[in-house]
Symmetry: C2
Subunit: 348 residues, 2 copies
């Protein structure tokens, strides 16, 4: 396992141009953050490397987050860029233990976009915001020349009020924590890719995009001392676990047999040559809780529709700092590294 | 002046596709907001039609705003997309009477972008944030395929704490208010266009991009009862005045002789066929204050470098609701309407 330490954390001089993989959530994204963004903006909130920043303003603890959405195609089985942009940002707030309250929306439209498409997306945002209990309070629209955009790019930023009594952040993860996964994995990425590749399945695979504050609120209200939450978006479970293991300097051990995958997703991943542990989800998260509370946390999660399929999937050990391993069904162990390249560009 | 009432405020059915002018800040932008966005998201904060939303969270009054930047070229005389994105969003908060505190940054990069360009932009953002006293606390990066973007698109959203004791919003504008303009107009738009058109001037015209909280804070601290503030970005002075006159149902009368224009800007506008009152600024704003306080407000503004050129430029009267007029140097009066089309695409 020493090979892990050969991964070079310093920026390489040959990164002269931006590659698709710089946006993929893997190693190149990490390198871009560490070599370009962090040196310029270094501060406590950014250094926490979480889904959002937690800010003290007066007596309030607020969470603040932003995400741009460039998903292709704009409409896919189970959703479109509009509800994706609402749920994605709402979920980043929820992962900070914050009740999502307010959203902004920044549209970058390509000249020639059909107004009917824009209306569809906006209507989906309205419905998604209502479902997630957030209000869209401010917005902006820019239009770029035909051929200089791709239909719609959409940024949503969000503000929430932190309701968790203790910090939910990678820094709180501790050896002895149990890793809970909130349901089956891989549906969002496979749904997108199946449209792009023109694949037909007996039963269509739909995106899992959904708002996640409800189960987080349930955990907090039940008094579960949640250490960290992370939604399993770009780069999937494997990338999320790597980020947390590296940030916190712990080892995370996952159990392959415990990780739920729908048969259709498993089959599609085999056909497409994808590892479902690296495929993006938009309605799934991992929760780190003390092992003594894991059973009760699971019971709480099973009371919410969106996390009815939650499972105990692994554990945090002191082990090798930054390492993520997967115990396979046949008893072997393999390292789950960060993606080096780009598996699925523009998945969100 | 009755012709003004012939402008059709309801959506036209033939708006089947998005046009560049939908992003220009003129009539088509207004129609897009009124026919697509407001019906879906109608709420008090959006309905205020201000540069940002003012939100009550617990005991705090916060301002929240978002803007996407698609300026072309990325680097222009006096700035680049990075400092523009910081100042633009900081200024939207200042226009709500709020001290800018925190920013997010969402990058949409085009595959193949030179990393050196990204580093330049990020370094400018760092310097601009330091100058404006804000901290960039959360971010996101997406990469789109070559030919599906245009180098860098950048969204910044911001949070500030409202320090003005009374609401600074179009709804507070009142007949009897004086309109103050904080300095000479048109430099940002002309600086951008001169690069695009390859124009050479004896002395180059540079963008006026600058942070505006300092003069706003000075007005608040001096106890000036500011009714409304508006930065004069896309669509320039004329569009900003039209938006406020329409939202509040008042008439705004401006005095052409009072409006400061640099000779070089005036000359460039003549060559380029532009009306400088419609050209974007990125470091200028209009302030609406009771006429009895206008002289004192002007004195306060003159103490700040960025508003040293502030002038009294007009007045609010009951008059014709929604009308903006300009009294010319030779004594005539003309209507300053919203732009119908797009004067300068991708100016910010």
């Amino acid at each position: 396992m020493k090979e892990f330490n050969l991964v070079c954390p310093v920026p390489r001089e040959d990164d002269a141009r931006v590659l698709l993989a710089h946006g993929g959530g893997g190693k190149l994204t990490e390198r871009l953050i560490e070599s370009v963004f962090l040196p310029a903006f270094r501060n406590e909130a950014l250094a926490a490397r979480h889904d959002g920043a937690v800010l003290e303003i007066g007596s309030q603890r607020l969470a603040f987050t932003t995400d741009s959405y460039v998903v292709r195609p704009l409409v896919f089985p189970g959703g479109n860029i509009g509800d994706l942009a609402v749920f994605g940002t709402v979920n980043d707030l929820a992962m900070c233990g914050a009740r999502p309250l307010y959203l902004s929306a920044g549209f970058i439209l390509e000249e020639g976009l059909e107004m009917a498409t824009l209306r569809l997306v906006v209507e989906s945002m309205r419905a998604a915001a209502a479902r997630a209990g957030v209000t869209l309070v401010t917005g902006d629209t820019k239009v770029v020349d035909k051929g200089k955009g791709d239909g719609i790019f959409l940024n949503t930023s969000g503000i929430g009020v932190v309701e968790a009594p203790t910090p939910i952040t990678p820094a709180s993860v501790t050896p002895g924590d149990t890793v809970i996964i909130s349901g089956d994995l891989g549906r969002h990425g496979v749904a997108i890719l199946s449209v792009r590749e023109g694949l037909l399945f007996d039963s269509p695979i739909t995106s899992d995009a959904a708002p996640l504050w409800e189960p987080v609120e349930a955990l907090i209200k039940a008094g579960i001392p949640v250490h960290c939450l992370r939604d399993l978006t770009r780069g999937g479970l494997a990338s999320a676990m790597n980020e947390i293991a590296k940030t916190r300097g712990v080892e995370i051990r996952l159990d392959e047999a415990a990780i739920p995958l729908e048969e259709a997703v498993k089959g599609a991943c085999e056909i497409l040559g994808l590892d479902p542990l690296y495929v993006a989800n938009e309605g799934r998260f991992a929760a780190f809780v003390p092992s003594a509370e894991a059973g009760r946390a699971l019971e709480v999660l099973h009371t919410c529709e969106v996390s009815r399929g939650a499972v105990l999937a692994g554990e945090v050990v002191a082990g090798v700092a930054g390492l993520v391993t997967l115990r396979s069904r046949i008893g072997g162990t393999r390292v789950l590294d960060m993606l080096s390249g780009e598996q699925l560009p523009r998945i969100c």
